[in-house]
């Protein structure tokens, strides 16, 4: 396989006014973003110490062992905190205002930075159950089939 591209000039994907660019990936994060491209939330677990670590790395930073495995998470979580963004100077986000950035605490432990979509922002609250969905963001230059996970009310 080719080395992960750091830059992408593929056409922007627009949905609801927001473009999701294909994420820049590398060897440590490829499984995560390719999983999202298949509609799976892929996390890393250490076979030696059982710790789930996010973001993915080349080895377990809890026990330093090189015995990581990837597994598909449940996709269920709760809102840890959030903000409704009303100002962003970047055109691709300006067109989507207001939108919601949030940390979602997954059932498996780690928090993900994400967006909460498919709901009225004013109805969101901390502790609210949410479920993952994916926006396909293929990198047309490299052919990588990638996706971006985001969450909606469960």
């Amino acid at each position: 396989m080719a080395t992960a591209s750091k830059q992408s000039d593929s056409k922007a994907k627009i949905e609801g006014g927001r473009e999701y660019d294909p994420p820049a990936i590398d060897w440590e994060s490829r499984a995560y973003w390719e999983g999202a491209g298949r509609g799976e939330l892929v996390l890393q677990r250490c076979r030696a110490c059982d710790v789930v670590q996010h973001r993915p790395r080349g080895f377990c930073v809890s026990c330093m062992e090189d015995q990581l495995e990837h597994f598909v998470a449940s996709g269920r979580g709760t809102v840890y905190t959030y903000s409704i963004v009303h100002q962003n100077q970047m055109p691709k986000f300006r067109n989507a205002l207001p939108y919601v950035v949030a940390y979602v605490e997954l059932e498996e432990g780690p928090q993900l930075l994400t967006n909460i979509v498919d709901c009225d922002p004013e109805t969101i609250s901390i502790g609210m159950p949410v479920y993952v969905e994916f926006k396909a963001t293929p990198n047309e230059k490299t052919g990588d089939q990638l996706g971006v996970p985001r969450f909606r009310p469960a």
Binding site: A4, K6, Q7, S8, R18, Y20, D21, P23, A24, I25, D26, E28, S29, W33, V51, V52, Q53, H54, R55, V61, S62, Y80, T81, Y82, S83, I84, V85, H86, Q87, N88, Q89, M90, F93, A96, P98, Y99, V101, A102, Y103, G109, P110, Q111, L112, L113, T114, N115, I126, T137, V148, R150
Partner: protein
């Protein structure tokens, strides 16, 4: 002789204008260097240690600035850990001086963020490198990274927007007493709450301003500083740390300030009741509230009650940012150097209406980066005693 108390700040200068479209950032840095040296009673030829950072300098910035000033220092430190960098530089300069690696350290900063129309808080975060890929798709602005911390604090402790607003109100009152501050018109709690929302729950007036600006600090041994033009301000304690995503399980209520503050207090052998004033990086109102908790001036969750109704105003329980801070005086992208400069000015005394009466010991704390994502923290405890 221990590191604590072995070195002192002998000269400071803050660039007076907040709008400098006809200057380069190096020119601002150069003029501040000249004026801080004059404040100390030293000259450029005395400088043998060079420290600095900025938003626009590249990795070779300190080499380029040495070329600009036509100096050849024997010690260089271009550490950039965000807006707290200069608080950290004072400690690093002290360590170098204590180790005999330099005698007179120049710490310098300059920026034309306002006249360059930089969108510091409301551009996107991240970038295109693989670690940023976990951030950049989601449109998390700098402001919203702090707003998510504010939201969590409200959820856990019942903190209110009105309490956050009171931080902006006190800081603006201080700015009204500072002739160089950019925003000097007093504001009310209602003004803050009625200003437009930038990233909920933070309003426009919960956010620092954007200005041009710069500053310089001269650090030398306490022994040498005693023979110079100004009353020395000794550094009794220092600490620095980071807070980050912790493989996905951070407590957003714990800042780097907790670790750096504990270290600084332990080194100084002082407690909170010894501190006469604080200068705290006020990128946003929530930053001040959470920093006060993490430094131990109040318990976790008690920050709202600590800051409300003028609690951090002049004459309050702990005066914070008597110069008007980043919320009202100046914020040109990286504010750490001004935290140190105002602490030194207060400890020298004679500031008129904004003087904290009888101030002998100050604490300066800088936060650099994104509060809700990853940030650095650097603490200094300074004394004129």
């Amino acid at each position: 002789m221990s590191y604590s108390g072995s070195f002192a700040i002998a000269g400071v200068h803050e660039y007076e204008s907040r709008w400098a479209p006809n200057k380069t950032s190096f020119q601002i840095m150069g003029e501040c260097s000249r004026d801080a040296l004059a404040d100390a009673g030293l000259s450029l030829s005395d400088v043998d240690g060079l420290f600095g950072a900025s938003m626009t300098m590249g990795a070779m910035g300190m080499v380029q600035f040495a070329e600009y000033l036509n100096i050849k220092p024997r010690y260089l430190d271009g550490t950039n850990i965000g807006g707290s960098s200069f608080v950290s530089h004072v400690a690093h300069a002290g360590a170098a001086i204590h180790a005999g690696l330099c005698d007179v350290a120049l710490i310098v900063y300059g920026s034309t963020a306002a006249s360059d129309a930089m969108a510091i808080g409301t551009g996107n975060s991240g970038g295109r490198d693989p670690s940023a890929a976990f951030v950049s798709p989601y449109g998390m602005t700098l402001v919203s990274s702090y707003a998510m911390v504010a939201r969590r604090h409200m959820h856990e402790f019942g903190t209110t927007s009105a309490q956050l607003a009171d931080i902006a109100v006190s800081t603006r009152h201080h700015a009204s007493l500072n002739p160089h501050a950019k925003m000097r018109q007093p504001i009310t709690r209602e003004d803050v709450l009625e200003s437009r929302v930038i990233a909920d729950p933070l309003h426009l007036l919960d956010c620092c301003i954007i200005s041009d600006g710069g500053g310089a600090i001269i650090v030398t041994s306490l022994e040498r500083a005693k023979d110079l033009r100004q009353k020395p301000v000794a550094i009794l304690g220092s600490g620095e740390s980071v807070a980050h995503r912790e493989i996905g399980r951070p407590d957003l209520m714990t800042m780097a300030a907790k670790q750096s503050g504990e270290q600084a207090f332990a080194m100084a052998g002082l407690t909170h009741s010894d501190i006469d004033l604080c200068t705290i990086y006020d990128s946003f109102t929530i930053t001040v509230l959470l920093t006060l908790e993490n430094l131990g001036f109040c318990k976790p969750g008690e920050g709202g009650a600590f800051v409300e109704n003028g609690g951090i105003g002049l004459g309050g329980r702990m005066p914070v940012n008597p110069d008007g801070g980043g919320l009202s005086s100046n914020h040109s992208g990286m504010r750490g150097i001004f935290l140190v400069i105002e602490a030194v000015r207060q400890l020298r005394g004679g500031l008129g209406e904004r003087q904290v009466e009888g101030a002998k010991i100050a604490l300066a704390h800088g936060t650099g980066g994104y509060l809700g994502l990853m940030h650095s923290g650097a603490t200094l405890i300074l004394s004129s005693d």
